[in-house]
Symmetry: C2
Subunit: 349 residues, 2 copies
DNA sequence: CTGAAAGCGCTTACAG
DNA sequence: CTGAAAGCGCTTACAG
């Protein structure tokens, strides 16, 4: 009953009058066969367009060669980048990616994980919901978040990214900077803000403006009252995300404050539209390809070292990947006494 | 070798001294067993935390209960919404979603499809790349694009969405409108533009501004020269995507043209940040949940009617789902003689 | 109403 | 160097 569409090992075997075991070995390169037979078998397999049955292989080996990817509220526009990079890294390694969305709540995150496990994934990649600590899912696990997250496996070095931003703003001459975030309990945001602060020169001011706290990253709502900040002397707005930067930018422009002539705006994550708007946003990019590759590597290692059927341990080593600054606004603050427009080295105070 | 982590039918069977066949029947409700035995078996299964082996089931039945989702260049921010809705609809129906990204080229789209087929997906959902016509992938297929796309299965009614936008602008008193798109060969964009045009009253002007054509939806590049259009009398900019609307909005603001006091800007797709910027964007939303549900339904029907192993036919019936207008800018054009601010019914010309 | 048996397609010791 | 055989966990006729 219920036969497959494609040819099977059996069909190759009988076409060549050899055993299935021999065909299997030839294709996998495991038993040592004569080079001649191996070639004949491989040619026949190609000719027939043989594809191994994942189901049979999985049943036999106890491994599905499928990984689960659990993402938090998908409203976060970073999702596509990560999903794309993970899918690429996984398929390069011969694995498929089953997605599961944990939108809404921590409970749904648990559901998502369970759904994946029921589908026999070999391991799970997760970008955890805020404040969640994923401990043991009974399967090898890789956590992608921030270096500050307990048992994180891989992440961007958000702190260092923050340093890049502040160094850049300071080199332009900015000394009074408003940092914008929306969630004081997000490790990612705190790392970015911490990094920025750590590079503020003596005498500089950097106050954090926490916009209203929403579960999802894009809080709608009351204006941020940025004009007051400008009047108070702020010359730069450094947001922890391009989303917040966009919100700040449009609000400033709407209030008639020219950007970047009067104030600069920077963000994080270099989202799809960041280069496209006017003015384009200076931003900091994570190396999603490397993060994905490292996450997959760590996960596969955990999978391959644990015998199937074992309750896999959480992978232990944490690595953090440097971020890159993408400069698109290079205007110096207008009222700081500096000599030239382009990034003076000195400290004009 | 390579046993599973969880309990098997066999373990339940021997714990209860019945046969595996009986356990299988009890759990699936297929053979008719005594209510009493059925209950005992189910309780035992729950107690042991039984999860069926997908691999074994797939091998036996010839169905993996996994669907593939192929997405075009993921730079399109609509992706998360769709992926989320599809994943939800699929998991409700007991299916998993394996993702494959066709970023870059048509060749990669083919690769993506092949990767999914090699993983034995039961069917494929695809948002095709521009200009691609997916004909036969040897597996049931559902195409999500525009009603104008040949063999589309489900899509939003982009034409009707365009009508909503134009009706709204016209009701506010706008008569000179610039339509913004970036790809004249996109069915989606053409439908939206066609719909908008179809509702332009006699005497109204609606010229299309095609911004430079990129594979990906967010073309960076030269300014759009919108100020000239404003000087020429345009009072509204209606883009085929929030992305283009954002680009227009920031460019106008940057040029010192107040939005929406002087001109209005509308988009499409109601992206995450559309409500958050200043001013918020009037937009048109697709009902992704319904689209996903219909796509999954059509696909599952095709899967269930074709015996496994058959080259599944492309599903035939096309349905299109109405879009919804989300009004966020209600300012009438300043120099059109109208009586009140809020959407006069007459035609002030 | 319940069970014995075959078989889905593969891989892996093991024997020849 | 190659093959016969067992078995992964399930489902489905079929027999009792």
């Amino acid at each position: 009953m219920a036969s497959r569409s494609g040819p099977t090992l059996n069909m190759i075997a009988s076409a060549l009058d050899v055993s299935v075991a021999t065909v299997s070995n030839a294709l996998s390169g495991k038993g040592r066969l004569s080079a001649e037979l191996t070639k004949r078998i491989r040619d026949k397999a190609d000719e027939l367009g043989y594809t191994p049955s994942q189901a049979a292989r999985a049943l036999r080996t106890g491994r599905s060669r499928v990984l689960g990817l659990v993402l938090p509220d998908i409203a976060n526009p970073l999702f596509p980048q990560i999903a794309q990079a993970i899918e690429y890294a996984a398929s390069t390694a011969g694995y498929g990616i089953l997605i599961a969305d944990s939108r809404g709540s921590v409970a749904m995150q648990t559901d998502a994980i369970n759904r994946l496990i029921e589908r026999d994934v070999d391991g799970i990649l997760i970008v955890p919901r805020l404040g969640t600590r994923i401990v043991d899912v009974g399967r090898p696990l890789a956590v992608i978040d921030s270096p500050s997250t307990p048992n994180s496996t891989v992440s961007a070095d958000h702190w260092q990214g923050g340093q890049l931003v502040m160094e850049h703003l300071v080199s332009l001459g900015h000394r009074h900077i408003v940092l914008i975030g929306n969630n004081p309990s997000s490790n990612v945001q705190n790392d970015r803000i911490g990094g920025m602060r750590s590079r503020l020169p003596p005498g500089g001011r950097a106050q954090v403006l926490w916009i209203e706290q929403h579960e999802d990253i894009c809080g709608k709502g009351a204006p941020l009252q940025l004009v007051e900040r400008v009047n108070a002397g702020a010359t730069a707005f450094a947001a922890v995300s391009d989303l917040h930067a966009l919100r700040a930018l449009t609000e400033l422009q709407n209030a008639g404050i020219p950007v970047p002539a009067r104030v600069s705006v920077t963000g994080f994550d270099d989202l799809a539209w960041s280069a496209m708007i006017t003015p384009a946003l200076t931003s900091v990019r994570m190396d999603v390809a490397s993060i994905a590759r490292l996450a997959i590597e760590a996960l596969l290692q955990a999978i391959e070292s644990d015998p199937p059927g074992t309750t896999g341990a959480v992978t232990a080593e944490t690595s953090s990947v440097p971020m890159t600054l993408v400069v698109r606004q290079t205007t110096a603050p207008p009222f700081v006494p500096i000599n030239n427009q382009n990034a003076p080295e000195g400290e004009p105070a």
